[in-house]
């Protein structure tokens, strides 16, 4: 009887000789296959030995190598008190055993080293072709999230610096105050650019039968934004012409990168309109971002505000301080933002409708 019991329980000798091990929480867990079934993970745990490949920590996860006799194997693992609060599941790269609502599912998209990210950024800033191929084997979400976030903060910081330099040079006695709405405007603009362009390119690809993987498109757009960080830093310099030139250069570079990497997908397209639509979407989106950059964040001219007038005045260039005693804070030109957004949307919608009509008529 006891022999059967010993076969059922595959217990390691607990090693209770040290004080540390005596205080460790003895956690009995099922082996990985049964744990997958119990946890109700999608895909039914294909193949037993998928646990614990990445790092060990203190919870010694079970592998298929444990001497398992019979169906029910209980293996003892030691979990220290600090990890008791959160059961540590190994961060594996196996999609089929992790549900998409768990954190472990997304760990597979962060499987990049620092050097990988650096290389991808350089490849995006200096477009030599083949960017999508280089990330196809291991598309990551680290770059596409943190580079746009960096751009947002860079915009906020440099916009303030540029504005205060402008205020300093226009010899007003008032202080330059910041505008928090600029931060929310920046985040909306940048995140919707990344999300919208990726979704549009993916949707167009699917519609015209030249499917592009969503992760690769997101990677392309996300890493393609890296050029805007140095551009926003350089836009601090108080010269309108320089700012326009910088924004144009960034626009050309990013558009070139996108076109270079999206075009190959439409080489075998049955419908030539697909390539046109995709390219026009790229150009429109990049142009909208460039305009928002130039006129939303770095349009600093000396504003003349009549006393008591609290409407945001359309910027008019004046020389010297004259009779204005107040320099209003650089208010986000909300009218301008909505105008840009609606015009871009209208243009985009019109382009799409035209190309779709053309596609339908030519295919019929």
């Amino acid at each position: 009887m006891s022999k059967q019991y010993e076969q059922l329980l595959d217990m390691d000798e607990p090693h209770l000789d040290t004080a540390q091990s005596q205080l460790e929480f003895q956690n009995f867990v099922l082996n990985s296959a049964e744990a997958n079934l119990v946890a109700g993970q999608v895909g039914g745990g294909g193949g037993g030995g998928n646990g614990s490949s990445s790092g060990s920590g203190r919870a010694s996860a079970t592998t298929a190598g444990t001497s398992s006799m019979g169906a029910n194997n209980i293996t003892q693992t030691k979990v220290s008190a600090s990890e008791f609060m959160q059961p540590q599941q190994p961060m594996t790269n196996n999609t089929s055993t992790n549900a998409f609502w768990t954190l472990q599912f997304y760990a597979q998209f962060f499987d990049v080293d620092s050097t990988d990210v650096a290389q991808r950024i350089i490849a995006a800033v200096i477009p030599r072709g083949g960017f999508m191929d280089s990330i196809a084997s291991n598309p990551d979400l680290y770059g596409p999230f943190w580079i746009p976030t960096t751009v947002i903060f860079a915009l906020f910081v440099t916009s303030f610096i540029a504005g205060s330099i402008n205020a300093y040079f226009s010899n007003t006695s008032a202080d330059y105050v910041y505008d928090m709405a600029l931060l929310s405007f920046a985040s909306t603009a940048v995140y919707s650019y990344v999300g919208g362009t990726s979704a549009a390119l993916w949707g167009i690809g699917r519609y015209f039968g030249c499917p592009v993987k969503i992760l690769e498109v997101v990677g392309l757009v996300g890493y393609g934004m890296s050029i805007w960080v140095p551009v926003s830093l350089l836009c601090i310099l108080p010269s309108d012409i320089l700012r326009t030139v910088l924004v144009l250069v960034a626009f050309v570079l990013t558009s070139f990168l996108f076109v270079q990497n999206i075009s190959p997908f439409y080489n075998n397209a049955s419908n030539p309109a697909g390539r046109t639509v995709a390219l026009s979407v790229i150009l429109i989106a990049n142009a909208a971002l460039a305009l928002a950059f130039r006129f939303g964040f770095f349009a600093f001219v000396h504003k003349v505000n009549a006393p008591g007038d609290n409407k945001p005045v359309k910027p008019t260039p004046t020389v010297g301080g004259s009779n204005s005693s107040s320099f209003a804070a650089h208010e986000v030109p909300k009218d301008l933002a909505t105008a840009i957004a609606t015009s871009v949307f209208n243009e985009f919608a019109n382009q799409i409708m035209d190309s779709v009509e053309e596609a339908i008529t030519t295919s019929v």
Binding site: S82, V112, V117, F160, A174
Partner: protein
């Protein structure tokens, strides 16, 4: 028939920490509050003057300290914000601190770091303390250069303190990827402190509105 009797309450050895059981119900409220406050102060001292055993102190995480610091910073920054933006600034700082701490933690975890989410949020929250001190000091300083130096020093202090606590997360080649968002987090908070106005500048802005 044998009868067994004994004392359930083991009054001989009181447990350390908050596990004192029935005893903490009877203690005066002041004791309870002071115990928590002392624990918070202990952790704040660990952030200011990191010692060898500071990591063990922070394993006993709590979120009251970060909440206190976050409220202090939000109040201080919204005090001297432009009138039309007081609420926006308060909300933004609050969201940046808590959202930023959560995002940095999740990012480190996704990169493969072995850490506990709440402990890390606790560490990140407590390491804002040098920046809170800097913001309090900058309340009285209007020179942008001096403020820049103070904020830069506080920023460096915060980054070094939080890196000290998160050093044993075994990230290998990805350490830079995990450290960068942390630096961004403290940088944006430091920037908000830097561009906030001092009490001396408050007057000029109100004059400006009336003119």
């Amino acid at each position: 028939m044998q009868s067994f009797s004994g004392n359930i309450n083991n009054a001989a050895a009181p447990l350390v920490g908050s596990g004192q059981g029935v005893d903490t119900l009877d203690e005066p409220v002041m004791d309870t509050i002071m115990r928590d406050l002392r624990s918070i102060w202990e952790k704040l001292r660990m952030v200011l003057i990191p010692r060898k055993d500071s990591k063990n102190v922070l394993r006993d995480w709590d979120l009251w300290g970060p909440l206190l610091l976050c409220l202090l910073l939000s109040l201080r920054l919204s005090l001297t914000a432009p009138e039309s933006q007081v609420a926006t600034v308060f909300t933004s700082i609050f969201v940046i601190i808590w959202g930023g701490a959560a995002i940095v933690t999740v990012n480190t975890k996704l990169l493969g770091g072995k850490l506990s989410i709440f402990q890390t949020i606790c560490v990140l929250g407590y390491c804002i303390f040098p920046l809170v001190l800097a913001s309090a000091v900058c309340l009285a300083i209007s020179s942008i250069i001096v403020r820049g130096l103070i904020v830069a020093a506080a920023f460096g202090w915060s980054v070094v303190a939080s890196m000290g606590f998160l050093n044993d997360v075994n990230l290998g080649n990805r350490k830079a990827l995990a450290v960068y968002p942390m630096c961004l987090f403290y940088f944006i908070i430091g920037w908000m402190v830097l561009i906030s106005r001092s009490v001396w500048e408050l007057g000029s802005h109100t004059n400006q509105k009336n003119a």
